[in-house]
Amino acid sequence: MSEEKNVKNSQTERNVNTKQVSKEREDIKVIRQIILFLILGIVCMLGYPLFEQTTRIYRAELPTHEIETNFKEFNERIYYQVPVFLNAPSAWKEYMPRIQSAVDSKIGERYPNLKDIWSLELHLNERNATLEDNYTLEVEYLPHPDSEYEDYPLESFFVSPYSKATKIRITDHAAISKKSEDFIAHVLIDGIFSEELDSLTRLVQDIYSDEITVPYSSKYNVVFSLMVESGKKLSWDFKDSIDLFSPIFSRLSPFANFSVSTQTQYYSNLKFAPDFRPDYNKKVWKNGAYVISEAELSTFVNYGDWNLFSHDIHPTINFIIYVPDSYDDKPLIIENSQTNSFLIPRWGGVYIYNKKANVEELTEQELLPLMEIFSSHLAQLLGLPKNPVSPMIKMDILFRTSTYRNLKQAMENLDALVKLTNSLKEISIPKKTKDYVTKSLEYFELSLNELQKGDFGLAVEYSSRSFESSNKAFFEKEMVQQAYFPSEHRLAVFLPLLGPVFSIMLLGLIKYIQENKKASKEKAD
């Protein structure tokens, strides 16, 4: 009996309790819910975006597709058409297609890789108009070959060293056997453009290896240094001597700019003492000579002591005139060298100039042969072809091959950049990179445009800009992925901070949902 009562009592008590509690809760509940939603709101609207903003790695969108197609279809996109004018009688007009096809087939046969990239476009220049900046073939017909020289091939050609003109002599021998067109094709392909075609073939095959050429840059410093072994005063007429280079530099200006400087240094000692050989080339050097063997030449330049480093950001081409002390009229000679000079690949040229003891000045006249050698060194360092003899054609060839190389490397760079950003997910891609990529692509198109127009100077200029922009895009300073820091680590770093906040929020949310459910149930009841 009493037990029952107890039970009842407790039941009523419980009822009262729950009532009280729920009554208390009503207003608090609302506040609690408001707070919950407020926090949720702040977290979602402010916290999450902030977290994203501060922890995200900026990765600009690159024109991946464009780069990839340019890279893959590079050889389809690039096309050279080099015009050649034939100075010949108008009667040749009918031969022109035959000559053209002979040339075309020769290219196709000899350089199958270049069939769709490079072609010669032959024109007949009937009136023999002077075409300054174009390739011309002056055809000369010699009907009667000299019988004196039977062994001597009868057809011949001469390339002018001053212009882009070439003189061809055709004899009956060829004319009769209808080999004239073959001969012209031979002159063009094997004579004039052979080095261009060779180097383009190498470039198409991705062979860049070049031991001598200085890496390409749109600007070079050229430093002429007079290194005097003794401390005796020696002046040199460098101004006029170096002026000789200016036509070359100005012609090369679409390819690169050159800034020239000079220096004179005294007490420039060698790192080693050269051998004295009393009977070396006795005919020329009566008193004997100090001889440097070829093996010693690679350590000839005293990089440490001679102040040769320019801290410029552009590559430097060095030309050194080394004036040894006269050693009692015994000269310093490079073994087996006619010119007493040598070329250091990718670096510059050195000339050892033995002067008489009492000479205090080097005149322009004395310096001229040196400058001639340096110009040859310069040509090799820049990658000018050896043939043909005409500097104009050489430079044209340099322009065209450089255009190809620059553009190809630009696209390779951009492709590498795309691959890199795809493989390294954590590396940032700054906006600057994207800007440079866009620029590079723009110049790429411009350069192709100029190629089509046949302006090889502008083409190489644009190609160089495209190449440099692609380099800048790849080598953007901010694109340094430092310290391996995967996203799991990042989460681990932030977890102690976010964990508690998040768990409280989650619990609050669950509670709220449960209450809502309960309330709706009660309503339903």
């Binding site: 057809e155 070829e294 670096w347 430092q482 391996y484």
Partner: protein, 391 residues
Amino acid sequence: MNLRLWSLLLSVLCVTQFITRTTADEEVLENAERVVKSTNSRHTNNWAVLVSTSKFWFNYRHMANVLSLYRTVKRLGIPDSQIILMLSDDIACNPRNAFPGTVFNNMDQAIDLYGDQIEVDYRGYEVTVENFIRLLTDRWDENHPRSKRLLTDENSNIFIYMTGHGGNEFLKFQDAEEIGAHDLADAFAQMHEKKRYNEIFFMIDTCQANSMYQHFYSPNIVAVGSSEVDESSFSHHSDMNIGVAVIDRFTYYTLEYLEKIDKNSNATLDKLFAEYTYENVHSHPGIRTDLFPRNVSNVLLTDFFGNVQNVVVDQNNNDILYAANHEQNDIRNPAKNISANQDEFGRVVAKTHVSYKDDNVKTLVQVPLSRAHILTIITVLTGCGLWLVAK
């Protein structure tokens, strides 16, 4: 009849044998040629990146390690302009140095490594992880001097040497930060992507060194480390006058071998690797070649330590200056400089005199294998015919 048949068969056999023999010989020759070719690295320039990462006087040996290798690569022909030397502390001028201005790597004090012409590209606090990564990937400020950059290209062989205090998959820099194995691997990947190297020889002398190259994934890298994971690298000996250990074991034996070679040496990498025994190094050096396509026994040490850069003597193409200045007044350009002759047309022409040759003669394309097959078939057919006739 029988006799004839047998002699016939014999002759057929002989002929086929001969033919197959020759083709086989040719194949052997071809293979041999390939091997010979593969020993020739196709690089055209050599670079060295030498890094010591630890500060402080008691890490004298790390500086000595790196300076020893600096001296060696210079001796073998890599010019200073192609050596990047990162030296984290100036121990030569440390007040504790009993011989101010010197660094020795042996207690005999025979060679002063700091003697002359040391060009340190990055010193002291410049030796940081960031700068090292920047150096490899060449990502710099626009005004960064060229002498402090690794200006390599796809024809460059790079020797990278690192020494310092390390642990599992990291190497400490300056006692303050560290570079991870992944960082290094990614930097190499970027170099490969940008064609910044032909081949890399990576050498690291630190505790648990082998862990540093485990994550490499770019091709053409051969890597050696001084010790396994959970293994220390040890110093070789101390100089009791200087009062510190002067060189590490791994580097000591590397140098001991390299001292024996000169610029024209034909010593190969495997000979150097043979020096890396537990007895010498007192730890287990690691060698990783799976990324390296060439067989290390065919790779010359000078491919990495030497320099291919040979000077070029007397290969001039003449008259450029003259031709370029042709349009200027003629007084300044004495024609004697140009080795030209006058042609009948009264104009100066180049001495280049390319003669025309009728090349109607087609070069015979040699196809030894197919030819052999045809010969075989013909012989067999003739043999069969003869046999039939005889029958």
